[in-house]
């Protein structure tokens, strides 16, 4: 039922878009009709034109996500356990986040070279932050009685972290992961805007350069599908991990 409602909404939206594009006789430059986008999408997929780019972005997304989430989670744990460090390092973390990566891309290219590495670094940098913040917050949400329990049981710091704080903070950490997954894809695509000759981001810029808006929207559809798949995978992971929480 819900699935049907969702599908219906999609069809209605697309129909409105198509009708709008026709009614206002909008130039494809301003807003291409969905039919043109679908045609372009189909062509790109059938001819195999999209696949290498989709693969490139997919690989960057996965690598960047792995690195970024690894560091984000690690930093969250570290700063949660060492509050003194938090006051010292947090400004640097904030700066690393607010500085537009697009502006720093030339520097990344100098440091990390062209292609995969730079894009992965950008992706990692972008998705690092939400996971860190949410880990930080999640780990702090342990009720004091349980901390006392673990102290009494002689649990080491590590055990308290792994077996108490982490399970308690899990919902919050997973919310961070959902944000991170979405941001990581944006990071990968934006990284490709500048530093790459392959990938969906590069394709978007190329399509803009040749003012092929149907192609650009087709690529955006691919990006969206990739994003939806990644998000859905996160939800599945979440459902598995949170199972004992909803008996």
């Amino acid at each position: 039922m819900k699935r049907a409602a969702g599908l219906l909404l999609l069809v209605v939206l697309l129909a409105l878009w198509e009708a709008g594009a026709r009614a206002f006789a909008l130039s494809a430059l301003v807003l291409p009709p969905p039919s043109a986008v679908v045609a372009s999408l189909w062509k790109g997929l059938a001819s195999g034109y999209f696949w290498p780019h989709l693969r490139a972005t997919g690989v960057e997304l996965l690598l960047g996500l792995a690195v970024g989430c690894g560091f984000g989670f690690g930093a969250g744990v570290l700063l949660a356990e060492l509050p003194a460090l938090r006051r010292i390092l947090m400004p640097y973390v904030v700066v690393s986040q607010v500085v537009p990566k697009l502006a720093l891309m030339p520097l990344f290219v100098v440091w990390f070279g062209f292609g995969l590495t730079s894009t992965v670094v950008i992706t990692a940098l972008i998705c690092f932050f939400p996971l860190m913040e949410n880990t930080l917050t999640g780990l702090a949400q342990v009720p004091p009685e349980r901390l006392e329990l673990f102290r009494l049981l002689g649990a080491s710091r590590r055990q308290t972290l792994l077996r108490l704080k982490l399970p308690t903070g899990l919902p919050s950490i997973l919310a961070g992961l959902r944000i991170a997954v979405v941001l990581a894809l944006v990071g990968a695509v934006v990284g490709e805007f500048i530093g790459a000759s392959q990938g969906l981001g590069a394709l978007i810029i190329a399509a803009q350069g040749s003012m092929d808006t149907p192609l650009m929207f087709a690529v955006l559809v691919l990006v969206s599908l990739l994003g939806l798949a990644a998000y859905q995978a996160t939800l599945l992971l979440e459902r598995r991990l949170l199972r004992p929480y909803q008996p």
């Binding site: 430059l29 790109g44 030339p106 290219v109 100098v110 062209f114 000759s197 590069a202 810029i205 040749s210």
Partner: protein, 304 residues
Amino acid sequence: QQRDRLVVAGWSKPITEVTPLLVDEEKGFYRSQGVALEYVPGAGGGDAIRNILSGQADVAFTDPGSLFAALDKGEKLRAIYDIYPQNVFNVVSLKKSGIRGPADLKGKRIGVYSLASGTRQNLQLLLHQVGLTESDVTIVVTGLLNFAPLLQGQVDATAATDTGLLVGRRRGLGEVEVIEVGQFLNVSSDLFVVREETLRARKDVLRRFVRAYRDAAAWMLAQPQEAATVAARRAIDGSDPALNLEVIRLRNAASVSDLTKRQGLGAMDVASLQRAADVYRQLGLVKQRLDMAQVVATDLLPGH
């Protein structure tokens, strides 16, 4: 056979416009000169120069504006090849707007790709020709899809390039008025630029590269059909060979000038560059007086 690795930093992704740099696999222009060519992309002529300054690349495919700016900052750079002697920039307006010449731009809203782009610099050049400055118009940053706001009436005119106008027309731009900047100041659009140090240390490889590029450009001039087909395979935006062909025709047209007809492709027009540099200085885009004779290195080109 041992080949010398040479990296070219472009201002763009590997697009149809730079087909001569993308066809080594098929045509072997560079291989036969003992050059292993690589291309690194950029977003603008500034990126290309930064990439050679940081050692990521050896040769920059960049516009004179970026070259002037870098020279102005004290960088030691040399221009070794004139890729497009023709100025490909223009200002496009809808017929009904009544803009016929640069003077009509006064008080109008004019779109540029970005504040860092050649479209803006060339718009400034054009305005300068009729005694206007940027403050006499409203500059609007539109991004690469710059004809959309023109069609929607959010800008009165938009600065573009010849290929931009071409694809715009194909996408249904309709009847427009075009003011070509080249009519007023026909300065080169793009050059190959290297660091002085590279020129000294790798002169031989550079010479072979220039020779190879020239062969590739000549091939593109002679065989536009074939070039369009190869570009369909090599260029990221080349999926439509018919469009490729038109783009290639435009680039071919920009690659030749009276000077190149006399001295061969790539010949540098020092006087024209000097004029441009002086105008850039008048516009305040560069602070120092640049002596282009010192910057241009002509001795890589055959016949010197």
